[in-house]
Amino acid sequence: MSKDTGVITPQKFLDELRRYQNGSVTRRHFLGVTGLGLATAVMSAAVPGFEPRKANAAISGTLNFTTWPNYFSQENFDNFTKQTGVTINVSIFGSNEEMLAKLQAGSTGWDVFVPTNYTISTYKKLDLIVPLDLAKMPNYAANTQDPRFIGPGTIDGVTYAVPKDWGTTGFVVNSKTAAQNPTSWKEFWDLIQGPLTGKALVHDYQLTTIGNALKYFGYSFNSLDEKEMADAEKLLLASKPHLFGINSDYQPSMRNGDAWMAMCWTNDGAQLHRDLPEMNYVLGKEGGEIWVDHYAIPKGAPNPDAAYAFLDYILTPDINAKEILAHGAPSTDSRTNKLLPETLLNNPILYPVAELLSPLEFGAAATLTSPVRAEIMARFKAA
């Protein structure tokens, strides 16, 4: 049949106008094919104060976005919907393992999701994510990213995931109710079995819960050594009766005073401290985890155009800055950092001092798929 030339003739314009008036095409389609959308965007770009971010005439529908709890700016998402007409469906997950399980089972319907550094190589290996077409997201700049965080998302020189923000895993202590002032993982676990019995929470997450139990003995956060893992399991099982709970959504319990101490990620620590100054975020001096979360597009994403539009939007420095302000995890992008207030850039929760930062380890890919780790976590939970 006739090839679609993209050029709009007067006849075609009228035809499209009739179709639009009849309601058989949407306004978006009409503006798209006639070029009116683009024209409006170009013209309005010249008018100050009336500047749509992008002329996304081609995208529509919904965007299924999968992420972690308390981890985005609703205002940013609303503005994206306002500008593009694409509504965002947010699903909240509790662990990377769970995300992997859903993607392995197939047909998730996700368009964009937020994997953590140590999972990306497995996603690539299992062919569950697509290489990102960086040309479709011009607002992302690889060269302004902190080089520490660019590695995990790039495999054999191909970008499979772009950094969202980074952070650490420590613990939060309510200094009003817990008089102790723990500074290490050793003290963390000892307090659980001692004075803070019934008042502490650990993550429902193998990587951090087992990893930080390993740190008690000074082992590597990523250890898969049989003896070291057995030690960690012994500590976990001994702590189990003393725990208030095993839950990755620990903010509610910390806020209402049920729990006084909890394993904690940077962003939750920053949010808790912002609202309740008595909440202290502590990095164990033995080390622990440093992480970087990414945006990635799973294979078979139903709305890839919207996915790219979203990534391009959310990685724009001024939009990204609003994200950072909302969730409190530090940015990987130096352009975004320039837009952030001084107080935030000096916040020790987000930017710990070098001697606390240097012993931290990135989670290792092997921990994600290790059946031994999974089984230790299961035995700990079932105990």
Binding site: A101, L126, G245, I246, S253, D258, A378
Partner: protein, 286 residues
Amino acid sequence: MNEKKHSRLITALLLAPAGVFMFFLLVLPLIVMLVYSFGERAPEGGYEAAFTLNNYLNLPSRSKAFANTLTLAPFATFLTVLFAYPMAYFLAVYVSPKWRVTMLVLVMAPFWTSQLLRYYAWIMILGAQGVPSWLAWIGISDVRIINTPWAVLIGAVYGFLPLMVPPIYVSLEKLDKRLLEASADLGANSIRSFFQITLPLSLPGVATGSMLVFILLMGDYILPQFLGGGKVYFIGNALVDLFLQSRNWPFGAAVSIALVIIMFVTMFFYMRFMLGKTDNRRVAMV
């Protein structure tokens, strides 16, 4: 002959929707599960074809979860009956027929909001700022409810009461009031009449209600997750972890099969016991 064929066709057509439904959503998944339960976990998680009994031999590693479920689920069901029975009795005997429907609708009203929201509300009610702080006010301090089996039991009674009341209500409403009159004429006081007539005749309702609640509780994982906070671990939680965290589908399938068998056996004996009881009474009364 033709007529017979015709009626057979009608029977087939009537059964077809349920048959197709059951085949694709019950029989087929069960077969898949059975096949998976003899497989092995793939290196990255998931399923790899194999023939091994290891998954079944590994079942004792989840014995605590089975034990928790098999004690808490029946106990919670029993508690729910204790709360639901007086409510149903009140509805069937004391409430005027004009108001009964309204009252029944009110019993069901909690179902109009999401279960998750209601559990979040219970987290607040049972948490430190809730009931324990009121108890501290009257001098009973250091009570912890949330993240204990008690919180799960409270949540279960609250959550499943609306499922238990209607079946009991129906069986009580059907009750022939003349039997009670006869009993009174023969000199039985009301307590004796209740235990010898009302209660036995309403047992089918109790049996139906308890089955509904028990089956749902046996597979539940949201309730223990929310109100047990990871400290009360049901077989449902073990399954969720096996499929979503460990991604050990074959072992998960074996645990599921074990759960199905346990449910089937429990149900079988429970129903036989309950129905046996009511049948005898009925025969005796005729």
